[in-house]
Amino acid sequence: MNLTKYYAVFGIGLQNTFVYRWNFLLRSVFGFVPLAGTVFIWRAMFAETGGGRIGGYEYRSMIFYFLLTILAENLITPTEDEWQIASDIREGQINSFLTKPLNYLGYRLTLFLSYRALYTVVTILPIALIFGWFHSFIQLPQHVLTWPLAILSLAMAAGIQFFIAYSLAMLAFWILEISTVVFILYSFEYFLSGHLFPLDIMPTWFTGLLQWLPFTYELYFPIAVFLEKITGRNLLIGLGIQTLWFFLAFLIAKLMWNRGVRRYQAVGG
């Protein structure tokens, strides 16, 4: 496969983001307000318990969990990709891809990677400051092997998030307005992926159920691996389920595209 064209796409992605740098910057700045809210609410929670543990977390490890979610989300969560894809389809922009020797999924994946790369570079300074502020809460893994496993899991989480977003955006082939569907998915991701709170503070029967859903593997799982909350046999099972979801999401993304293109009428082309 000729990769040069994808390098070019990567560059386009970077430039796209730079055109709207203010938008980008403000988004990153406002993103830290909810983090402050989270720190305050958990500080109040732990003040009530008199410094006790909550679901296996002490105050320090709870805050460190949320710091890691911020870092991970900057690295892997698609921000505007699904909206761009949907509008490409709706407005007939994909016509130009159908006639070019460029795979649309590959194209979007490259753009996604370039957005994430730039986003990370820009937010790394504020994130580093926050990590510096809470430096005494940082707990690095005991085991050397945890590092590569957590990174592998994070990479798969990125894939799952992207393929799900991509598949949803493909709905634009069938329906005009995909935002309701996207927001329904967001709400599940928000509450069930570990963004709002670590999943293991919920009742065991519920986390047992969540273990089989993809949301767990979009954010919570790689962080739990890094914090060494999940070890041994459970770690292997988890990675297994995550790998399954990764390939399943990939296949669905491909399938949706193939089906969609067959239906496509090239409006506006």
């Binding site: 709207y20 938008n23 403000l26 305050f40 929670m45 505007e80 329904i184």
Partner: protein, 283 residues
């Protein structure tokens, strides 16, 4: 129905009330238009209803999870926090019903130059931009918020006095004003920052902290977000009016009134300033 059959009232001497009546009449027409439009997309209406319900449900579950471990958070009991979240829902949804879509569209109007058509109308520009569409699904969800508030009051065994209810409604109205002003302020930045979608995320991120009990916030953060960007007190003040019968509602509402005046006047001034810098994209 023929829209032309309801003309804007002719000039009659009604003194100071006349402009007000005219704006009311214009609003009535736009309101009816958007209801007709909304009913053309019934599936969409129901889906949006579902979206908001899911978000709301998630927040209630969050509170449930938190109170598994503690009996109170910053001297707020569980049902007091639920009442706070219900109030936050009520204010947020009322804001969304009347203004959200319109304000969220402002950056796009600026980018495409369509704002010109609104500026040409012989009505106040901020009014014209802010009142074009109305979201009926949000009204339903606002009622869900009211239901949760009433349910929490039952659980707390509180029967508010008529005065408390009156002050509560007034505080909710002030809260809607704060939501509107802050989001309008953010959207107005679109005159300088061409693609301002990020600002809409700004709105959600700011009001994310509005559903937490006020006492958990400390220091400079608390000062900034109570007085300059008063998102912390928006839902807390009305909730306290119902819960804290020992505090006089007048004092509480003043705490909200001053920052509300500040942000709404500030936003208005910023809008006027921004308009002077507007160079249409279409010409």
């Amino acid at each position: 129905m023929d829209l032309k059959s309801t003309p804007i009232p002719p000039k009659r001497s009604l003194g100071l009330l006349r402009p007000l009546k005219r704006y009311f009449e214009i609003y009535r027409i736009m309101f009816r238009n958007s209801l007709i439009r909304e009913m053309n997309f019934k599936a969409n209406f129901i889906l949006w209803l579902l979206v908001e319900l899911l978000w709301f449900l998630g927040q209630i579950i969050f509170v449930e999870v938190l109170f598994q471990y503690v009996n109170q958070i910053g001297d707020w009991s569980k049902w007091e926090v639920v009442l706070l979240i219900g109030t936050h829902q009520l204010i947020g949804q009322l804001f969304q019903a009347f203004f959200y879509v319109n304000v969220a569209n402002l950056p796009e109007l600026v980018r495409t130059g369509k704002l010109d058509f609104l500026l040409l109308q012989p009505i106040d520009s901020q009014f014209a931009v802010s009142t074009r569409q109305f979201g009926l699904d949000n009204v339903v969800n606002a009622m869900v918020g009211v239901g949760i508030v009433v349910f929490s009051l039952l659980k707390l065994a509180i029967l508010p006095t008529l005065g408390q209810v009156g002050f509560y409604i007034a505080a909710v109205a002030l809260g809607v004003t704060v939501h509107y002003s802050i989001m309008f302020f953010l959207a107005t930045m679109a005159f300088w920052i061409v693609r301002a979608q990020g600002l809409i995320y700004g709105y959600y991120n700011l009001f994310n902290i509005a559903r937490y009990p006020e006492p958990i916030f400390r220091g400079v953060f608390r000062f900034i977000f109570s007085w300059l960007i008063p998102v912390i007190i928006v839902a807390n003040v009305p909730a306290k009016i119902l819960i804290h019968s020992f505090e006089h509602p007048l004092g509480l509402i003043l705490q909200l009134l001053l920052p509300t005046l500040l942000v709404s006047v500030g936003t208005r001034a910023y809008w006027k300033f921004a308009l002077r810098h507007y160079s249409s994209a279409s010409s």
